[in-house]
Symmetry: D2
Subunit: 278 residues, 4 copies
């Protein structure tokens, strides 16, 4: 018995659920869970099924393709550990949260390595037996530095997701395209508010009564892209910006880890600048 | 073109989605939304589809019944206004919230009347042109009083839901059975905590840092039954029990109105002491 | 025995608490509650005390003034009903929430009237015996319309707070200055995000996973000004913008009512573009 | 210049703020922050001031004692690292969260050691250079085991707080008295609901729509005692109990770390079965 996650997105039309489920039925597949969503405005159909049976994944995909609209995106994924690389700068909270989960066997992932532009987090990372790569940006142009980072990533092998666990450098479009919809960032704010530097100071100056954090895929720059998860906490005037930041870090790490988990379980569809999450 | 909400629950078996969707397909029904859930522990299948087409509802039900397990519960509902009765005692916040939504045309419901054991809320209710029935419990046994209430309800015609908007009397099993899974109560606490009288005082004495409210179907008594919706707010030591109650009322009314809306949209399945909500 | 709320803000210096409390002590005033805050960055001191005793308010203020920094803002307020005017346009949820609280005797306020640029909400408001004034903007310039509104307000007598319960017109600086820090608005979004028209549509397009609402004092325009209260709810891809709006309204009305309550209890200090709330 | 946290609780009477602040003033102490609370029901006064100046702590306490009610509890604390011991069983999430914060220098504490009844977490703890003590309960009575644990703790020196980071053994009254109001526990549920074993399974069976966690001081048993902090998350029917547990762990660790931080900053007063937290 094999288990597959079947992910389909295509333009909506009548009979899609019937067509897909009839193939599952014909192959005697057991549907363990099934989620669908239709974006009526754009007439788009999304479906994620977890099925169990004896059919071959390639065969299943071929059959699905034969009944679905021509341009349908079909992913058939066997649930297995994905390869991820973490990137960080100086702060340890988001990185540490992932490391503790990793150590506990909670993540369906192999962490191939941690890449940083500083060596500050090396002692922490190496405690967990994970390779650490310092790629300093000192004296390099953005392009030069990024080329070195990409070289470093390339040497680590096939990467499913790059997780920016408080990596504070801006990525160029070149990098982003190379890992399209596979770079997960934690934004230290409640997007779309307070884009840019020191959002906690911005939030403090603005006197907000709530702060938050946003995990999202990176498209063009660090502060945009399809949102995966968000959370917030209430605050009051007694929080100075350092206190906001301390509280914000607790939100950031939980939200990033949640987004990573959703990605590892193939629960996210990206379309436009949005996500569907099952 | 007719629109139907199709609700199915039955024991889980292979091919259910296929069988149901093939009937939808054969009748050229458009699936506007579709939700499924399998409770793997108990091997139960739940499905709610909103479909659009020209088929007759009775015909559709007959066909579904022919392919589904024998004991399957099948509901085919045309989205139309449901008949509800509100019951209250002295507090106006939950009742008032429903009245304002009603006035704004926000509720898919006809309010047949408001029944109370006091006449205190009569002026408020009659502002909205809704009949108000005072059924005093003075000098009556619980059974005698309830018999009068039930008489009053019976005279109002077919009732889809009885909404206890802070009705502070305990209902007997006789009443509850007469409206099984159709009585929605707002519990002035975060169930299962603080069952019984003055939960805000209990919460205050216990020094909780969060308070909440729970909307649920009534089964045996006011404080139990399948939970529909819950919400909470953070509090601190500076809230005395009156302040807890004031804040609690804001939670109560929103949670009750949300639960009512879910019921009016036929989004709730009840099984065991739980709900599935799509 | 008289009760006073004593509100002080001034630049911070050593001994302020001592100086104030010694005056309270000398007059044999009982401190029922006492809150202080120092904004260390700007060196500002805020204090709100509720005291009880036999001293005269004017006398108390004079003595406080004699020991506090010269430019200190001192307010001595006897807790009594404040006069408020509500302004609305077409939506009834925020207005209705205030009316229900008013009817229940929950608000320490007299509602002098409701002013709207449409007559749509007149039937609702008049149920509660509150004067309703339609001041149509049809065929008028912004200045002309606002002049009529201000005339209408002036005729209602002394106004402590103007509450914009979904009043969808932009106010001119002239209006705002006339009621400085006394106009409370509910912004249909989680400020500082989504300023401007139809924020729920903006939020939907952006694919946010949380929506919120912000109550704030109005300074220059509808979308800015010191934040008083905020709240949020989690959403997912299945919310279209109408569903976001429906949920948003529940947040809006509770947040606006909470902000109004804080104002009526003299709990808010405004400084810069921020608030201190005790 | 020295900095002190001054914590006072006593029965309420007129002039307390005046008396305390006059002593601060006489010693030319700068008040950096000041919080007061009166529990009017029980007539109790609580005050926490952070002051800066040149006076000696002992001197300050003596003077305060001379003006405050005889039975007043007065604590004058210089902000310095406290000594803590962590106790755990098999789960690493709460423990790991504290270790990562410790490594980042975020905690004002020395972790003297980690005590567990299993050796499972030893590799994790030792990565951080912290002594790990396995005190197995195998073949021992509760009293015998606890005696060994207490011996182990005694050998570690002066302990300010014992943090139960998912320590799953019940403590005897003897242990609890030895560390009165100094044992912080994280309860894997939203107290007072679901006391006892596997609360997530209980929560699942009950069909709750919200789960939570509670950090509290331990008094008589693991599941009671004054609440320090609580938090919750929304869930739905699709969460089986394992999923509830996974989400619950994220809440647990953040709430426990927050409670620990409050304790380390001397922000908590305990009275009755409640806390005042400034």
């Amino acid at each position: 018995m094999k288990k597959y996650r079947v992910l389909i997105d295509c333009r909506d039309e009548k009979g899609l659920v019937y067509k897909v489920s009839s193939i599952f039925f014909r192959h005697d597949l057991n549907i363990l869970s099934n989620s669908e969503f239709v974006d009526a405005d754009r007439s788009l159909f999304f479906m994620r099924s977890v099925v169990e049976g004896t059919v071959d994944g390639g065969e299943l995909e071929k059959e699905l393709r034969s009944v679905l609209p021509k341009e349908a995106a079909i992913r058939i994924v066997a649930p297995e550990k994905k390869n991820i690389v973490l990137m960080a700068t100086k702060e340890s909270h988001a990185l540490g949260d992932i490391l503790i989960r990793y150590e506990a066997g909670e993540l369906d992932a192999n962490i191939l390595g941690v890449v940083s532009n500083y060596d500050l987090l090396q002692p922490l990372v190496e405690k967990f037996g994970i390779p650490y790569f310092t790629v300093s940006h000192e004296g390099l142009s953005r392009q030069e530095h990024e080329a070195k980072v990409m070289e470093c990533l390339a040497a680590l092998g096939e990467i499913d997701y790059v997780v920016l666990a408080k990596y504070m450098r801006i990525l160029t479009p070149h990098f982003v395209e190379a890992y399209e919809n596979r770079i997960i960032n934690i934004h230290h704010s409640f997007l779309p508010a307070f884009i840019g530097a020191n959002p906690y100071k911005q939030a403090y100056e603005r006197g907000v009564k709530i702060i938050g954090a946003t995990a999202h895929f990176v498209n063009n720059d660090l502060d945009e892209g399809p949102i995966i998860a968000q959370d917030v906490k209430h605050v009051d005037h007694a929080y100075n910006w350092q206190a906001l930041q301390r509280l914000g870090r607790d939100i950031e790490k939980i939200v990033l880890s949640r987004a990573l988990k959703l990605a590892l379980e193939d629960r996210i569809f990206v379309y436009g600048n949005k996500t569907v999450i099952f």
